[in-house]
């Protein structure tokens, strides 16, 4: 009698996506598709140099261009107290430069005109005179006392250092090292990378002087945070600000920060009293918006002869660019770097970190990553690889000795995280079998006889996904909970709104599945809306894989509140007391008489037409969910490669991904997330690279220099699953959006290293471009991404 959950599109159904109905028809609504009456267009003039005092800005020729309505400079912004804005890490960032240029691509002026072509023409007519200063393109240069102070705008900033930070137990760790049989070391650079969603950033600001209301369409993963920030910066009361984040063409962390362009478009609309659209071009996106990574990682591991890890030390030196704008919880200066080694039983650990300003674009965003977790896990798995080699142990066996065992949960890591569930060894077994691990050594030897270089790489990790809880996690002081609001209409159809914001993850499809699971209302009867701060409940947005762990939990909780009320209505309709009511999917019935029942739809109708005495009419509610802990998905990835000794080119022969993200709401979408993430991991390992020349010019400012993999290069991936439900999540789900990007890179790199380390090489830094691999093969020496000159 009970409903078939899969048929109604509930949990576990690979339900086809509802959002696709508009996307495949070309009917998506991205910011650039929005046209408002009387709209003007804005273009930003960016700095061509990396570091310079501004001697003068002459905008007179730009004003002369027919069709130009307004030219804005830093001075004009300053007159309104808008030349600087706060960042998400309690620093400040220039909106339009007033004093000095601090990175190539920095915003200098903006032209607002009748059409975008005119605005571009006029921008080209602005003359800026620079007095150039030395570019500081890495933290080691930034340490040099001879170098100028980049942030001379700040008081109490006598050097280019931003922070020193540490966590862990130094004494215990030193003790572990004193007792070690073997000490293993590794030195890595995780290069700067850019999330580079296909859609660039943009906004349309529309200030209505008559009502005092500011509406901004914006490419934002976190519209409510933007509303709060705009209220603070622009001094417009929060209830008069409406941020609408329509369809987003990808985000990957790039659309979390608040960019100067947004703020300038807002002021431009206030001044022109017209809507102002700003759409960034690809170069603008690549050279000025939030990058990821750019950290030097160094560490040691203390080991016992039998393979047991006794302790680990890690030191990071990070390059944050000209403004410390990392999007991360306040407490942690280098994100959740200390989640490193969370899947291994490591008794003692100590992490020290230092961060520096450089004359590069700001960012440090969580690029498909939970706040530096990608760096943490890459370090971990490269360290594991090196340590196994130093011990002369098999890579898989070494990991299996040290992985946290199933019966050790809940497990407190040396850095203080509490991991709560997993079947790590089972995931290892599934992966090893799928890739034919036990036969590989023979295969490798046999291939080598034929002059072929094969390698296998493993990467295993658990990562902290889904911040909060609010005790520990906040963004600029706002606690990291999330929310959902559900209204069930009279006919049993419903609308659900959440504080998250989909960028392609398919929330419109999966949130409805959670409601279907909780209430038995078919998913097709539920519409999901997100991204409009006037209608959506307050939430912290979507990044760091927090949607399912936090907002998804709120969806389940609000549905349960609705069910609790519907139960009262059912008792009334069935004329029995509430205690005698039983629930099965979609229906209440009288205990002992399953035939006598009412559906959730009957209850919905009664909520508006036949309400029992003493009960409020209507069937709607909301839920704010503050998770008790993070969720801890596990990944075990196995990669097999062949390296061409003559060119250094490597090909992926097989890639096996075993993911345990707990209960899967929509398996099709989970697999889509994993494949997308693995592709970005492959890209980082192989080709994605943003670097800078001596003058601070960004190399990687377009898709000719910044390489993204196409369908042609991208390997195929074999996906496997293990399910260990999250013990504290209402539906047992864990985050998944970024596991593959986090665990993936080390699998590729370890595989390539395994193929070439017979030459004596220990490390080649990412990206493993053919020239680097070739050099390693030729010289038998490490190829480092460290800057050539260490200054100071």
């Amino acid at each position: 009698m009970s409903l078939d959950e899969i048929k109604i599109g509930g949990m576990g159904a690979s339900r086809r996506r509802v959002e696709d109905n508009r996307f495949i028809r070309g009917k998506g609504k991205y910011v650039d598709d929005v046209v408002l009456p009387g709209m003007l267009h804005m273009e930003i003039l960016r700095s061509t140099v990396a570091h310079a005092n501004i001697k003068s800005i002459d905008t007179s020729a730009a004003w002369e261009v027919p069709g130009v309505r307004l030219v804005l400079t830093g001075e004009m912004m300053a007159a309104r107290n808008l030349a600087w804005m706060p960042t998400l890490s309690y620093d400040t960032q220039a909106v339009l430069a007033t004093d000095k240029i601090r990175f190539q691509g920095q915003e200098i002026a903006a032209v607002i005109a009748d059409d975008p072509y005119i605005a571009k023409d006029a921008c080209a007519k602005i003359v800026v005179e620079y007095e150039q200063l030395p570019a500081i393109t890495n933290p080691f240069m930034a340490q040099d006392p001879a170098m100028p102070i980049i942030r001379d705008d700040k008081e109490n900033q006598p050097t280019n250092k931003i922070f020193d930070w540490e966590i862990g137990d130094k004494e215990r760790t030193d003790q572990a090292f004193a007792e070690a049989d073997v000490i293993s070391t590794i030195d890595l650079h995780y290069p700067r990378s850019h999330p580079s969603p296909m859609e660039n950033c943009g906004s349309i600001a529309d200030y209505d002087r008559a009502t005092g209301k500011l509406t901004v369409y914006m490419t934002s993963q976190a519209p409510h945070i933007v509303r709060a920030a705009v209220a603070m910066v622009a001094e417009i009361p929060e209830h008069q600000i409406r941020i609408i984040s329509p369809d987003l063409g990808g985000g990957f962390g790039n659309k979390v920060p608040i960019y100067p362009g947004y703020v300038i478009s807002i002021l431009a609309s206030i001044l022109t009293e017209r809507p102002v659209k700003w759409i960034e071009d690809k170069t603008g996106n690549l050279i000025s918006t939030g990058f990821g990574r750019d950290v030097y990682l160094n560490g040691q591991m203390a080991l016992r002869k039998d393979g047991k890890i006794l302790g680990m030390r890690m030191h990071t030196i990070s390059d944050h660019g000209a403004f410390y704008a990392d999007a991360q919880p306040t407490k942690f200066k280098i994100g959740l770097m200390h989640s490193t080694f969370a899947c291994y039983d490591v008794p003692a650990a100590h992490l020290t970190s230092e961060g520096y300003y450089t004359t590069k674009a700001p960012g440090g965003v969580a690029y498909r990553c939970s706040f530096r977790v990608t760096e943490a896990m890459f370090f971990q798995e490269r360290m594991m690889h090196a340590a196994a080699n130093d011990l002369g142990m098999d890579q898989a066996a070494f990991r299996r000795v040290n992985l946290v065992k199933d019966d050790m949960f809940p497990y407190r890591t040396a850095f203080g995280f509490l991991t709560d569930s997993g079947q790590y060894d089972k995931c290892m077994q599934v992966g090893m079998e799928a890739i034919g691990y036990d036969n590989f050594k023979a295969e490798q030897e046999e291939a080598r006889k034929r002059g072929k270089l094969l390698g296998i790489g493993i990467s295993t990790m658990t990562e902290p996904l889904g911040a909060g809880n609010s005790r520990e996690y906040d963004i600029i002081g706002i606690k990291m909970f999330d929310s959902a609001e559900l209204r069930v209409h009279m006919t049993g159809k419903a609308i659900l709104r959440t504080g998250a914001k989909t960028q392609g993850q398919g929330h419109e499809t999966t949130w409805a599945q959670i409601v279907a699971h909780e209430l038995g209302i078919p998913a097709d009867d539920i519409v999901v809306e997100e991204g409009d701060t006037d209608t959506a409940p307050f939430g912290m947005g979507t990044y760091a894989s927090r949607s399912t762990p936090v907002a998804g939990a709120a969806v389940a909780m609000v549905a349960r509140k609705i069910r609790a009320k519907a139960r009262k209505i059912a008792a009334h309709l069935l004329e029995v007391s509430e205690e005698d009511i039983e629930w099965e999917l979609g229906r209440f019935y009288v205990r002992g008489n399953q035939e006598r029942g009412v559906t959730i739809q009957d209850c919905a109708l009664a909520a508006y037409s036949n309400i029992p005495d003493g009960l409020e009419p209507g069937l709607e509610n909301n839920a704010y969910y503050d998770p008790p802990n993070l969720t801890w998905p596990f990944a075990a990835y196995f990669c097999k490669v062949e390296v061409d000794a003559e060119t250094g080119v490597w090909d992926v022969l097989q890639f096996v991904a075993v993911d345990d993200c707990g209960v899967r709401i929509n398996p099709m979408i989970v697999e889509g997330q994993v494949m997308g993430g693995l592709t970005e991991a492959y890209a980082m390992a192989n080709m994605q690279y943003i670097t800078f020349d001596e003058e601070g010019n960004c190399i990687g400012a377009n898709y000719m220099d910044y390489l993204l993999p196409t369908a042609w290069e991208t390997p195929g991936f074999e996906l496997h699953e293990v399910v260990t439900p999250c013990p504290h999540h209402p539906i047992g789900a864990k985050g998944i959006g970024e596991c593959a990007t986090v665990a993936g890179p080390a699998a590729f790199v370890n595989a390539v290293m395994n193929a070439i380390e017979h030459t004596g090489v220990r490390n080649v830094d990412m990206p493993l471009m053919p020239n680097r691999v070739y050099e390693a093969l030729q010289t038998g020496k490490d190829v480092s991404g460290m800057p050539p000159v260490k200054v100071g």
């Binding site: 859609e199 690809k282 997308g676 377009n702």
Partner: protein, 178 residues
């Protein structure tokens, strides 16, 4: 529906040269006056309000702006509107009707060939052009045909599956020869 004077905003300044062009867009003949430097992608998006064609890079690298010009996939950010004069242009809005989808569109939905949807119109048009010249492509042929189109979300595997799904559907839908 032949004049677009009211849709294309009047050019600022009287001295901006314009040229009159006629383009067949999704089966309809459209005549308009355009600046010679206007890119085809902007003509479609701003002038004709066909916003299904996206602009990702404006530099011929990403393929989000792919449309069919006389049946061949073209990156519309790399072609001036005046170059389309007298030609047939097909955009995503012309692939199917609101009620009847092209098999490629169906395939992308069935096989989860899209996530954010930004690359999708370009991907689908490049796929359609492939299937018109090669109704039975191999996986490698699909990958090669789509290698001018970047996708940041899907990892391509499901896009390839979508195209193969569509190919099969189109072959099955073909009336069998007697």
């Amino acid at each position: 529906m032949s004049s677009l004077y009211d849709v294309i905003p009047p050019a600022a300044g009287a001295d901006v040269p314009v040229r009159r062009i006629t383009v067949e867009v999704n089966g309809e003949s459209r005549t308009m006056d355009v600046e010679p430097r206007l890119l085809l992608v902007h003509m479609l998006r701003q002038g004709l309000e066909l916003t299904g064609t996206h602009s990702g890079c404006d530099t011929t690298s990403c393929g989000a702006c792919t449309v069919l010009v006389d049946g061949r996939p073209v990156k519309s950010c790399t072609m001036f509107a005046v170059m389309a004069d007298g030609k047939k242009v097909e955009t995503v809005e012309g692939m199917g009707t609101a009620s009847e989808l092209h098999p490629v569109q169906e395939g992308f939905k069935q096989e989860h060939g899209l996530q954010c949807g930004f690359c999708t119109p370009g991907m689908m048009l490049a796929s359609k052009a492939l299937l018109e010249r090669n109704p039975n492509p191999t996986e490698d042929e699909v990958r090669w045909a789509l290698s001018g189109n970047l996708c940041r979300c899907t990892g391509y595997q499901n896009i390839v599956k979508s195209v193969l799904w569509a190919a099969e559907k189109m072959r099955n839908d073909q009336p069998q020869e007697a």
